[in-house]
């Protein structure tokens, strides 16, 4: 008794599941996210630089935001002196979003791509989406 048929079917089912990432993507080319910096405020900047380097921000912004939050709220320290000695007022809504007023084109671009759904916007307003 071999039950070959059943084994083959089982194997095919396994393969159908296991190779899903491949066949669901093949031939598709997904454009990588291009967060837009095209806002009036940024345009007006002479040096287009965030509070920290671009690379740092790409990796660490979520944690920096948490630090900012705790510093501002819990220690009443609302001044951020970055690694180059430049001062920034700590505020998601009033510092970050002033420049990046285009949440959809900036934040959501990558968040959507990486399927992360931060709850910042449950409370914090976005200019463009403000009511």
């Amino acid at each position: 008794m071999y039950d070959g048929g059943k084994i083959i079917i089982g194997l095919l089912i396994f393969l159908a599941f296991a190779t899903f990432p491949f066949y669901s993507n093949i031939g598709k080319s997904v454009a990588k996210p291009e967060p837009s910096l095209d806002t009036p405020v940024i345009k007006a900047l002479e040096k287009k630089e965030c509070v920290e380097s671009k690379d740092f921000m790409r990796r660490n912004h979520m944690q920096l935001l948490i630090e900012w939050r705790d510093s501002a709220l819990r220690d009443a320290k609302r001044d951020y002196v970055n690694s180059k000695g430049k001062h920034f007022r700590i505020s998601l809504q009033n510092t970050c979003m002033k420049c990046h007023s285009n949440k959809k084109k900036f934040c959501d671009e990558c968040h959507g791509y990486a399927a992360v759904d931060p709850y910042c916007w449950d409370c914090h307003f976005v200019k463009e989406g403000g009511r």
């Binding site: 396994f14 393969l15 990796r59």
Partner: protein, 346 residues
């Protein structure tokens, strides 16, 4: 010794990836070539392994019956532990594969004074195994977010439920922690239970260390060392769509992570990890207990030499006749000893 060898092996793997990327800048090797090779090895190896098993027949119907057989209609029979039909087997297998039914039966045999043997409650191995496998599966499925675009809804839901607890940023995913905890438990029990330590081979420690390495590099990468997740997804999505590209500036930790995973994939078909497929094929579990109801055929059944009744009667005819036991050939003269061995049927 087994543990040390395995630990060193995993550390060497980590070092290889680290040096390969940091010093030799072999991003394409570790990010594209090796993963492809590993996945290919996994699929080909796994399929071949299953087919190897499939080619071997199950000559006899040997389910381990863990419950009452189906016999008289008024006797309540155990439909799952001793299934008489296909559905019972399906449920039995599902419970085995999804809930680890047999391991749930586990006991601890204790020798007390008296002497008295007692059988204690021992569900830790079940719990450890259960948490380990389910966490691993969920973690694996969660990673689909790196291999799909748009990300399917079920992956997002899984992520949301897994990250229900708002701890840290990005949110702590519970299965990552439970996976690491479970694999640690499985490792520790190999050290602490003398019997288990005695039977453990390098092949037992290695996958545990490897998975420990995978889980901890993953956790390190997500919460501590941080990589540019967008670039990572560019790479992984490129892999999935068979148009690989290697973005610059992904941290080395990512390459260590993916190299360990590649190792696991490539190692899989050649190791005990094939129990993933094997558990489905185990003849003591996946057969119905209906051997007296249904005929089962052994494909290599062959005729054997038997001792026929004729030969038997030939030898004992006189004694039988004297005892009044009926015989086939009642002629008085002793037949010429027909010593020719007769072949049985088939």
């Amino acid at each position: 010794m087994g543990a040390m060898v395995s630990l060193v092996a995993v550390l060497v793997l980590i070092l290889i990836a680290y040096v390969g990327v940091k010093v030799l800048s072999l991003q394409a090797l570790f990010g594209v070539f090796i993963p492809y090779l590993a996945v290919l090895t996994f699929f080909v190896g796994f399929i071949l392994r299953i087919l190897k098993w499939a080619r071997v027949p199950v000559p006899f119907h040997i389910p381990t019956t863990c419950g009452q057989q189906k016999s008289l209609p008024w006797i309540h029979y155990s439909r799952i532990e001793s299934p008489a039909g296909t559905w019972g087997v399906v449920v039995r297998m599902a419970m085995e594969v999804l809930l680890f039914r047999s391991l749930f039966r586990n006991l601890k045999t204790e020798l007390h004074d008296g002497p008295k043997l007692a059988y204690g409650w021992e569900k830790w191995l079940w719990l450890g195994g259960f948490v380990f496998h389910w966490s691993f599966l969920i973690v694996l499925l969660r990673h689909l977010r790196f291999f799909t675009q748009p990300v399917p809804g079920f992956v997002k839901i899984m992520d949301a439920v897994d990250g229900f607890l708002q701890i840290g940023s990005p949110h702590l995913l519970m299965t990552g922690v439970t996976l690491l905890a479970a694999v640690t438990y499985l490792l520790i029990r190999r050290f602490y239970i003398p019997q288990v330590r005695y039977i453990s081979l390098p092949a037992d420690y290695f996958p545990l260390f490897l998975i420990f390495g995978i889980a901890s590099t993953g956790i390190l990468m997500r919460y501590f060392l941080k990589v540019d997740i967008i670039k990572v997804k560019e790479l992984t999505l490129g892999l999935a769509s068979l148009s690989p590209k290697v973005p610059d500036g992904i941290g080395a930790i990512f390459y260590v992570h993916i190299f360990l995973i590649s190792t696991l994939f490539a190692y899989f078909p050649f190791s005990k990890l094939v129990h993933l497929g094997g558990v489905f094929l185990s003849p003591t579990r996946n057969l119905a207990n209906n051997s007296r109801m249904k005929r089962h055929v052994n494909p290599w059944n062959y005729p054997v030499k038997v001792h026929t009744y004729e030969e038997y009667e030939e030898e004992f005819r006189d004694k039988m006749k004297m005892a009044g036991i009926p015989v086939e050939k009642d002629e008085p003269e002793t037949a010429e000893a027909d010593s020719e061995e007769s072949e049985g049927k088939e």
